[in-house]
Symmetry: C2
Subunit: 386 residues, 2 copies
DNA sequence: CTCACTTAGTAAATTCATTGGAATAAGTTA
DNA sequence: TAACTTATTCCAATGAATTTACTAAGTGAG
């Protein structure tokens, strides 16, 4: 029962085609006006006029001539990678992370602020002030990934227990203070946007990113769009029950995926099973796996088993070709992937498994800030699929 | 790595706004030109000119005057419900079902053809010929729902084991033969389209329809669009493992949802547990439940338990507000819904469960043909969300 | 009953992004 | 050097939406 679609107007067409030209150049690397026209089916005239605007805006530059193919050599165009800088913020549980990236996702600045227990919003202002103070390129806007239930359309943090935020109109607050476009989204959703924009499977229309850290959350692209859910709660797979009669979860149920496969659950289990002088860490797990420590491997295999079941559910439901693991546990790489793929093969249709590619993210710990900044690319510049 | 979005042209704008006007009238029931303009943000002039075309095309009619509100009374417009007739076909396992419906989904003709073991395509032609012979309204086109893997974009049945079809270019075959637009899609997907177009939650942006019959399949709407999947295999939840070490399924795995909750599994189980003179049927189950037969109720409760787990997975992943049960098992109504809702509450986050509404379809056994015809409404007339 | 006012809808003039065709730029090849 | 290619720009034409003005057809106050 939503409203009707928007009307089409000349301005809309203009904007659409302008963005289309930009996207073609963005994807094309170094491309001539004619080739943009061929790619987009726009006429050379339309392309030229839009390119003129892009040159004027400082988003695109001419980068030389193509070798002639028997006629006038084409002038190659390319995105001016640092023509805009984007601010991406990661409001994590214990610290604020902020990066400034360029249009290609190259990190130009990185700032971290450990939360001091005081007003989180004030500290967020402080971090943004710091980032802005050190930038001299035009800033496109601010993108934010935060845990909790976030209404991306309204720009409101509806619920973020850890931060003590409730119905906080973060977009309007920051927009007013900095005079810049602001976008926010749930951190799990944002990791999917990061993969979709900068990851190894960029632009894949269907893409599921599974974030395994303190909890487990998923970000989902379907038909080229992020899935928010009707109550902005899509991707909450951490609390799907995979082990009937399992351990009590913080959510009140028993045997949630989080209780058997989150990084924190694994570390807790290792601390209990194989106590060491220091608490277990991911690095320690990696070392133990390198030495083929059987107990550690068994524990990882078990987690992979349950992750495989959860992913079988996802793949069975959505038939998304790419499933990407991110978050701290993803650092285990093949030690996690191999048993996980075996489990997946046991729990989903053969043809679907064959059509699925489970990988580990290559974006590292900046994934949330990258994705947050990518919100700007999508919304302000249209670097995103139809 | 798909192609770029399409360019915007004047013709596209025109078509878009034309469809927008039609949709406003379709949704509005009886609505004036000015109100269409208000609703769509189009100017009265643009609305008038498009309405003129719609009147001319016989898609819309003037149906009288609205009471005056202190000025010239508005002329009310309404869709000419039988201005077009749509052919919807259900290529089921053992028979072909065909209906002709009008623009509102009212059934105008119904034909059935029991498959005789011969060439299915020839029998399909025969059915369509029969339907066409008895219609005298302009026919908008042909929509088809069929089991198997169907590439909706290409209009090709890639794989339909039961029908012996493999890479059959059904759209082109029928299009050539009848000179009408043809659309096809997987039958589970088509049921979701039926619900989205004609069901109790029409136009819900996120909607999951679960079909329980011989097998179990889901049709999914996310962000107002049907989910096809990268290999056209979305919704294959019948083969998600819900019972580790369960019964062997036809897919080769053990404990698939289909083995514990499909109508056929239930009937088989009843025949084994409570043998009767006649084999068990849905009607017999309903009768037994009305008498509170404990064994039957226990068996249904168990199936509902597993369906609840599967739906918990769906809801956790997608946070779709509406989940609708269809297919033969849905006829059990509250006897199925109540234990299912209990199971769901035990297997998903409380907040998500509270934001979910599980219902039983009201569209009955015509759901596939209705959905197949709705493919035409969506693709030919744009009766579908942005 | 008439006049002022309101609302619906149409007509004519205007705008402007795309288009199509011609012109120009700048090479290659016979 | 002339003929041909290919890239790009220039310019008039197109046409869908918009703006503005106008007509149609009612209500309500005096």
């Amino acid at each position: 029962m939503q409203g009707l679609p928007k009307k089409a107007s000349r301005e809309q067409s203009k904007l659409h085609n302008y963005r289309l030209v930009f996207k073609a150049i963005y994807d094309g690397g170094a491309i001539s006006r004619v080739d943009v026209a061929r790619l987009t089916n726009l006429t050379p005239t339309t392309v030229s006029s839009n390119v003129a605007i892009l040159l004027d805006e400082g988003l695109v530059q001419e980068v030389g001539l193509a070798p002639s193919g028997g006629g006038k050599p084409a002038t190659l165009l390319s995105v001016l990678d640092d023509g805009r800088h984007l601010i991406g913020l990661d409001v994590a549980g214990h610290e604020l992370r902020g990066t400034i990236i360029n249009l290609r996702g190259a990190i130009r600045q990185r700032q971290t602020l450990a939360l001091n227990g005081g007003n989180v919003l004030e500290q967020l202002y402080q971090l943004i002030d710091q980032l802005l103070a050190n930038t001299h390129n035009p800033v496109l806007g601010i993108g934010i990934g935060a845990p909790g239930v976030i209404n991306t359309t309204a720009g409101v943090v509806q619920q973020a227990v850890n931060l003590g935020w409730h119905n906080l109109a973060l977009r309007d607050l920051l927009g007013k203070r900095y005079g810049l476009p602001v976008y926010l989204a749930n951190d799990s959703h944002v990791t999917a946007i990061a993969e979709h924009t900068f990851g190894s499977q960029r632009n894949a229309p269907n893409l599921v990113v599974i974030n395994i850290g303190l909890g487990i959350g998923a970000g989902i692209f379907i038909n080229g769009r992020i899935v928010g859910g009707d109550a902005w709660g899509a991707g909450e797979i951490g609390h799907v029950v995979v082990q009937p009669n399992g351990i009590l979860c913080r959510c009140g149920h028993y045997g949630c995926l989080e209780t058997v496969a989150s990084t924190s659950a694994l570390l807790t289990k290792l601390d209990a099973t194989l106590p060491q002088a220091e608490p277990w860490t991911i690095a320690a797990i990696q070392a133990a796996l390198a030495n083929n420590e059987p107990t550690v491997r068994a524990i990882i295999d078990e987690a992979a088993h349950y992750l495989g079941i959860a992913i079988a559910n996802v793949v069975g439901l959505l038939n998304a070709q790419f499933v990407i693991l991110a978050g701290s546990l993803a650092q285990l790489g093949n030690d996690l992937l191999q048993p996980l793929r075996r489990s997946l093969a046991h729990h989903a249709l053969q043809t679907l498994v064959a059509a699925t590619d489970v990988q580990v993210s290559t974006l590292g710990s900046d994934i949330v800030t990258l994705g947050a900044a990518a919100l700007l690319l999508a919304n302000e510049l249209g670097i995103v699929r139809d």
